[in-house]
């Protein structure tokens, strides 16, 4: 992975058939022979393996190291605990994908496994090639989560910008794009995402469809209470939704938390290279920064939804420069969350540790959906690289600052942009933001809508690039952003598009000259915007008019734009938008640099 800021996508494409290395696998099997074999096989797949021969031990390990694993593989028959039980626990508590194994391939057993939430059921003897592709389950989950929380389709080619976490570098070699399963269709929001995302959990309760509104209420409640102090009961009380049960909220909260964590992680990775995490900053106050890449301030009544592409807070804050790319290459992507957290607490101008406030992850609501990262896969089709660590959590500080650690950007001045695109107002808004992002941005329930104006990719990309180019910490002003935004909505939107974005993003440093070049080539209709996958670029916050606000990742970006009210309305929570603004980062940064 390139440590450089946006490495060109080509580098990420260079790896052929490389698996998403570093996937953190926990293998649980009481059979010592199999345990050893599986460990060897997984290591050969370049995965990071931890073995456990007791189910209880595995559970405590998972509990201890929250977010320390990406996937669990477990045998069905174990002496201390039934494999299905373990499966249930993992699904409920950690919400990780679990693969079951057994020498018994009886249909009833397989069925049971699926019923309990297993994402796959392997028969022993297991061949190495069967293990090679287990990453797909992690990926699928992320997508579903994004969808779940965002209601938007994951952006196509969600991908972390080139050079970023390139998890999929190899996997998507050849420029294969990670196509997010669902293409955003207009403003259609999938309300059934929740169902999908529940696949891995074995929860069998009646499904509650977490609509955008419901999720908004949820996030609002969480924000009010304070992420750290939040609890299902309190949320439930605040939400005031009579038919909702505490269990519903509890499970949703759990997912949300995990989601944020993942976003954070992803963001971190992303910020490294893209620098502009788009996070939904929903803090009413200027937020010190968004962790990943975008710093944005949230002013009261401004809801800036920065779409934090991902991961984490850490990356966001850190990225004052668009690209931090990784130093992690793929390897880094798998750094344990803790590492990211370490980064956090860097000094931030606002006193908020925009830089990876790893520690603050919990505080932030990460609106970024990990998937977002994947979504934009710029042409390079660099598969979204996403860190296996999920999306970082956006620190959400109650009260004044919304630290979106993830995104460092400040929401651009929305008003101006808002009108740029016609169309529909955000109602369905959310172009592609993960609900979380929106949530983040909107402490008051307003979400910064990111509208991605779909414009020609290239045009935008370059524009974005330009914008991104400068990353001076000038985010203080809203104007720059605004300007940028205004002039280059297209550019911003560009990010969304496929492929080219990658290149755009990677360029962080370019000056935003071209922002206007693309001009308003066309303002995508809301649908379009929404549908646009998030190209590599990172986040775009869409204003009501579907303008795309990009929040570059600038540590100090202080642009706090007032987000027009209407922006928030539409945050829809159940869209799958994957916005990985963070992925786009570099470009975004430029946007805001004055």
């Amino acid at each position: 992975m390139d440590a450089g800021a946006f490495s060109s996508s080509s580098s990420s494409l260079s790896r052929k058939d490389a698996l998403p290395a570093g996937l953190r696998v926990l293998v649980v099997d009481d059979d010592p022979t199999w345990l050893k074999i599986l460990e060897k096989m997984l290591k050969k797949c370049s995965y990071q393996v931890t073995t456990c021969n007791l189910a209880r031990e595995a559970l405590s390990l998972l509990r201890e190291r929250k977010d320390g694993f990406d996937i669990v593989i477990s045998d069905v028959n174990m002496p201390d605990m039934d494999g299905f039980k373990l499966l249930e626990h993992v699904g409920l508590e950690m919400d990780l994908p679990v693969i079951m194994m057994s020498v018994d391939g009886e249909t009833s057993r397989v069925k049971k496994g699926v019923q309990h939430g297993a994402c796959d059921y392997l028969l022993k003897p297991i061949k190495m090639k069967e293990l090679r592709n287990i990453w797909q389950h992690v990926f699928r989950k992320r997508i579903h989560e994004a969808r779940d929380f965002s209601g938007y389709e994951v952006i196509e080619g969600l991908q972390m910008t080139a050079g970023g976490f390139d998890l999929y570098d190899g996997a998507f070699s050849g420029g294969e794009q990670m196509v997010i399963p669902k293409k955003r269709k207009d403003t259609e929001f999938k309300h059934d995402d929740k169902e999908l995302s529940d696949t891995s959990s074995s929860m069998k309760k009646a499904r509650v469809v977490w609509s955008v509104d419901l999720h908004q209420k949820f996030v609002k409640a969480v924000n009010q209470i304070g992420f750290e102090k939040v609890g299902p009961k309190r949320i439930l009380d605040l939400m005031n939704v009579p038919w909702l049960t505490r269990e519903n909220v509890a499970s949703h909260l759990q997912k949300y938390r995990l989601y944020l964590t993942r976003l954070q992680k992803d963001n971190d990775l992303k910020t490294s290279f893209c620098g502009i995490p788009i996070s939904d900053v929903t803090a009413p106050n200027p937020v010190g920064g968004c962790s990943n890449e975008n710093t944005f301030e949230i002013h009261p009544n401004e809801v800036v939804s920065s779409h934090v592409g991902f991961s984490g807070v850490d990356s966001f804050f850190q990225n004052t420069k668009p690209v931090r790319v990784e130093s992690n290459g793929i390897g880094d992507a798998f750094q344990p969350m803790s590492k990211t957290k370490r980064k956090a607490n860097a000094d931030t101008p606002d006193g908020f540790d925009w830089k990876n406030s790893g520690g603050d992850l919990d505080k932030l609501f990460v609106a970024v959906k990990p998937e977002a990262r994947y979504a934009t896969a710029p042409d390079a089709s660099i598969p979204s690289r996403f860190s296996w660590r999920e999306v970082p959590e956006i620190n959400f500080q109650q009260g004044k600052h919304i630290n979106h650690s993830e995104s460092k950007f400040r929401p651009p001045p929305l008003p101006s942009l808002m009108h740029s695109t016609e169309h529909e107002q955000p109602g369905p808004a959310p172009a592609k933001y993960s609900p979380i992002e929106r949530t983040l941005a909107d402490p008051f329930g307003n979400y910064l809508l990111y509208s991605k104006n779909r414009t020609d990719n290239h045009c935008e990309e370059s524009a974005l690039q330009e914008v991104v180019g400068s990353r001076p910490p000038q985010f203080e002003t809203e104007f720059p952003i605004q300007k940028t935004l205004e002039t280059a909505p297209a550019a911003m939107v560009a990010a969304e598009n496929q492929g080219p974005n990658l290149s755009c993003v990677t360029e962080v440093g370019s000056s935003p000259k071209n922002l206007s070049s693309c001009g308003d080539s066309h303002r995508p209709s809301p649908e379009e915007v929404l549908q646009m996958g998030w190209p590599d670029d990172d986040f775009y916050s869409l204003g009501p008019g579907n303008q795309l606000f990009q929040f570059p990742e600038f540590g100090e970006l202080d642009v706090v734009s007032e987000v027009p009210e209407h922006l928030y309305d539409t945050l829809r929570f159940d869209y799958e938008q994957v916005f990985d603004a963070s992925e786009l980062c570099p470009m975004d940064a430029g946007l805001f640099s004055a």
């Binding site: 022979t33 050893k36 074999i37 060897k40 028959n77 057994s102 018994d104 190495m128």
Partner: protein, 151 residues
């Protein structure tokens, strides 16, 4: 180096007969493929682990078979574990006997279980002998390139 060559040839032949005589199946090849510089004796290590684990299981089954009345569930469970373990090295014939045993358990057929168990033990012993001999010669022959090993 005639001796060496001879040994090498012997290894190849012995290995081939493991497959031809149905002692091991493709899983064994999987293990061989996992062997690399980091784990140059991977296959043998795994097989050794298998011996240890299977010895334990066999003794447990024996004990369970001495009970009266027979606890078929327990027997089935133990055999299931044994089967899983045997699948790890691709012990084909042993696995087949395990399946048989399992069927007898399900059918509550104590006699059938006993017979099946005896057969299984015989297969297991035979396999062990074969593998031990094979590894011994392989060690003597020294590292061989894959080409000569591959079948």
């Amino acid at each position: 180096m005639e001796k060496k060559q001879q040994l090498h040839r012997q290894v190849v032949m012995m290995r081939q007969s493991l497959f031809d005589q149905g002692y091991v199946d493709d899983q064994f090849v999987q293990l061989e493929e996992l062997q690399d510089d980091t784990n140059p004796n991977f296959v043998e290590e795994i097989v050794t682990l298998y011996y240890r684990d299977s010895a334990r299981l066999i003794s447990s089954i024996e004990q369970a078979l001495e009970r009266s009345p027979l606890d078929f569930d327990k027997l089935d469970n133990l055999m299931h574990q044994f089967r899983g373990s045997s699948s790890s090295i691709g012990a084909r014939k042993v696995k087949a006997e395990c399946t048989q045993f399992g069927e007898h358990c399900v059918g509550g057929n104590g006699e059938g279980c006993m017979r099946s168990f005896q057969r299984m033990k015989r297969e297991y012993s035979a396999l062990r002998k074969k593998l031990e001999a094979y590894f011994q010669v392989a060690r003597q022959a020294g590292p061989m390139d894959t080409a000569s090993r591959s079948n």
